[in-house]
């Protein structure tokens, strides 16, 4: 482990003009960020981590990947299971299931020689690698232990752990783990862990669930279904839905109407350019209009617990773009006033 860094006092600076929802989200001990593939969930997780760190919290961002996606953002060749401080008050770690398996063995068996023996035993390894739910189980255990060591629950060094979870399927699987364990293990340490993990996932102010989506039909429908599913099966209420990639209000619907008339009037050399302008206007105004419909739908379903992040018209997102999103995340949204 790295030596603890000297950090300033962890007072959360409350920006009076800031978003109360963002402030509330950042008060959790853990934020679980998930969403369908391609919605920008990793970007949202990093943005939230940057915002929390900028506001004075000590933040650990955890990715569950074999290769870290945020490492390049901070100019690092790679990030492994040991947290690295990449910026003031911001640490990142990247775990794969072998890291979590080793962690579990180390915690259970204590003796390093025994851990190595267990990891090398092919029957033990075969069993752990192949049990279907083992990945979410090992990760949940790992996360729970980190959470136990930190902030208000201990004397650890993080105020907030933000987890970039792989897929919504993994998330559903993870919330099912305490029940699964309780069925399989009625007594013993595993049964005790099941209780502890369930508490972390269900107690107010501990693990907050954040769903990321795009303002498009399929992602929105699936996000609302995921939310309903988790509520029904596990009694988990989603802390917030983040709508990423919302097209800004550049072109107005009436601009499209004028262009349509203009396209009919245009003659000669003007025909092609006007058609092209009409394409651009329709694309932007149409996307904005549809996004507004989905935002309304989500706000109604979530009683306003929705954060809107703008589309930045770029396919890469360097750190300055991430910080722009972090800023928007923390700011009081114009629409909500």
């Amino acid at each position: 482990m790295l030596a603890p860094m000297i950090t300033p006092p962890t007072t959360v600076q409350q920006d009076a003009a800031g978003s109360p929802l963002a402030a509330e989200l950042l008060r959790h001990s853990v934020l679980l960020v998930t969403g369908k593939g391609g919605v920008g969930k990793s970007t949202v997780a990093v943005s939230m981590a940057r915002l929390a760190a900028q506001r004075g919290q000590r933040v650990l961002l955890v990715e569950l990947e074999s290769v870290s996606r945020v490492a390049p953002l901070f100019g690092l060749p790679r990030v492994g299971p040991e947290p690295i401080e990449v910026d003031r008050r911001l640490w990142v770690a990247c775990l794969d299931s072998m890291d979590s398996l080793r962690f579990f063995f180390t915690q259970q068996l204590k003796v390093a020689a025994l851990v190595n023996l267990a990891l090398r035993n092919r029957a033990v390894e075969g069993f752990f690698k192949a049990v279907p739910a083992v990945k979410p189980m090992l990760f949940l255990y790992h996360l729970w232990r980190i959470e136990q060591d930190q902030g208000r629950f201990g004397d650890g060094r993080y105020d907030l752990i933000i987890c970039d979870l792989p897929t919504s399927g993994f998330t559903v699987g993870m919330y099912a783990i305490p029940d699964t364990l309780a069925h399989v293990f009625r007594v013993g340490s595993m049964a005790t862990y099941a209780v502890g993990m369930r508490e972390m996932l269900s107690q107010p102010g501990r693990a907050g669930l954040v769903l990321v989506t795009l303002p498009e039909e399929m992602p929105v429908t699936e996000t609302l279904e995921l939310r309903a599913d988790l509520l029904r099966r596990h009694g988990v209420e989603t802390a917030a839905i983040i709508v990423n990639g919302v097209y800004p209000h550049i072109v107005r619907p009436e601009d499209v109407e004028h262009l349509q008339t203009a396209a009919q009037m245009a003659t000669g050399l003007a025909q092609e350019p006007v058609r092209e302008w009409l394409w651009a206007a329709r694309l932007l105004a149409g996307r904005r209009q549809r996004a507004e419909g989905f935002l309304t739908q989500l706000r109604t379903a979530m009683a306003g617990r929705v954060v809107e992040l703008p589309f930045l018209f770029r396919r890469d997102l360097p750190l300055d773009a991430v910080d722009l999103l972090a800023h928007r995340f923390g700011a009081r949204s114009e629409g909500a006033a």
Partner: protein, 407 residues
């Protein structure tokens, strides 16, 4: 594939199994359905197998809601041929090329139960497994990994003589190995070593046989006992004991799946969309599939912003703006309003041009990766979700057009 044959069209003519792979949110399901429809219209007997399908797409295929049976092939064509343009039908109102299309949704939970039933030879054994505490606890988890089910099902469906082409829409993955090895993982889960090992654990009600175990095994046993609790070991042992008889069949099935994935008439298509993450994952997938010596037929790049000629070129933009002014005034706008609208549009065009350039660079990278032996076809960003069979057909036609060597 030979260089001359590297088109989407030839792939759809020659394949028995087409697997679309890619990360989430890149339009894999829609692409699978569009390719399957195209092949069916060309006269093949196609089954498209989809996991986690979008509702609109189901609607387009004529499969309305969740109350339809899952894990059962449902007929789309010829039964829904009236939804197609008349050009696809002959004078008798039949499909011109007499192809068929079926679609099947994979429901992992009932799939897991079906699979266990298929694998376990006797009713007594099935009951034993179904009532095992471990099995019951892990069943939902097994269902959360549809790749197990998908691979198991395709080897089963490949033997169904109603179909001569299977199009498989895989679950989102950034790791091809996860999916390709799913069959092997299942066999590994219940592998001989693990089985033998657990066979030595006393079943509930039996006396301990620890004394007769070798040193290595009792070591491992004590480790596992410490990890999971000794009281759980008999349940786990019973679970594995139920699978003793199945193991050879499971292994055989895994080998069969492996052969099927590498067969000459099996082709992988990597589906992607613009964006650094998607591009990185497509390259990663390509490398992994190559390492695994799978046949990669080509790439489909969805959701590309294709900026039209004049807006794409800054040197034409002033010209294009000039040409905008008069028609806008003619449409009834005042001079000031015309300036405002124009200003907003110029701003919009600059942003779209930026995206268009990034997307073009992305496509060029993939074209280079595809080289001469694979196709690389591009679908423009659509402004509406697909919800009719006719729209799906148009998408298929566009994908086919864009994959011809001329591009």
């Amino acid at each position: 594939m030979t260089a001359a044959a590297a088109t989407l069209e030839s792939m759809l003519q020659d394949s028995r199994l087409v697997i679309l792979a890619g990360s989430g949110g890149v339009g894999k399901t829609t692409s699978s359905a569009a390719l399957a429809l195209h092949a069916a219209l060309a006269g093949r007997h196609v089954l498209v197998l989809t996991i986690d399908p979008a509702r609109r797409l189901l609607q387009a295929l004529g499969l309305h809601s969740r109350d339809l049976p899952s894990n059962t092939p449902l007929e789309v064509l010829p039964v829904r041929r009236a939804d197609l343009p008349a050009t696809e039908l002959d004078a008798d109102g039949e499909l011109r090329n007499r192809g068929t299309l079926h679609a099947m949704m994979l429901d992992a939970e009932s799939g897991a139960i079906d699979m266990v039933e298929r694998l376990l030879p006797t009713a007594a054994l099935r009951d034993q497994v179904m009532n095992n505490r471990i099995y019951r606890a892990f069943l939902p988890a097994l269902s959360a990994s549809p790749d197990y089910m998908a691979l198991e099902l395709i080897s089963f469906l490949m033997r169904d003589d109603r179909f001569d082409l299977l199009v498989l829409d895989t679950p989102p993955m950034h790791n091809a190995v996860d999916f390709l090895h799913a069959g092997g993982t299942l066999a590994a889960f219940i592998n001989e070593r693990v089985l033998k090992w657990f066979a030595k654990v006393p079943l509930p009600g039996q006396k301990s046989r620890f004394s007769i175990l070798g040193a290595g095994t009792s070591m491992a046993m004590s480790v596992l006992g410490r990890l999971l609790g000794n009281e759980t070991l008999p349940d786990i042992a019973e679970f594995f004991a139920s699978f003793q008889e199945v193991l050879p069949r499971l292994r055989e099935r895994a080998n069969e799946t492996d052969r099927m994935l590498r067969a000459p008439h099996t082709h992988f298509v990597i589906v992607t969309a613009p964006g650094e993450t998607s591009l990185r994952e497509a390259r990663h997938l390509h490398r992994e599939l190559q390492d695994q010596t799978m046949n990669i037929a080509g790439f489909i790049v969805n959701r590309v912003i294709q900026v039209p000629r004049m807006l794409a070129d800054p040197s034409h933009l002033i010209d294009a703006t000039e040409h905008l002014r008069q028609p806008l005034i003619d449409s009834g706008l005042g001079a000031a309003e015309t300036s405002d609208v124009t200003e907003r549009l110029v701003q919009a065009a600059a942003k779209l041009r930026h995206l268009g350039e990034a997307d073009e660079a992305h496509v060029v990278t993939l074209q280079r990766l595809a080289g001469k032996t694979a196709f690389c076809t591009v679908a423009a960003q659509r402004e509406e979700d697909i919800h009719t069979l006719a729209q799906l057909r148009d998408l298929g036609a566009r994908l086919l057009d864009a994959s011809r060597p001329a591009c």
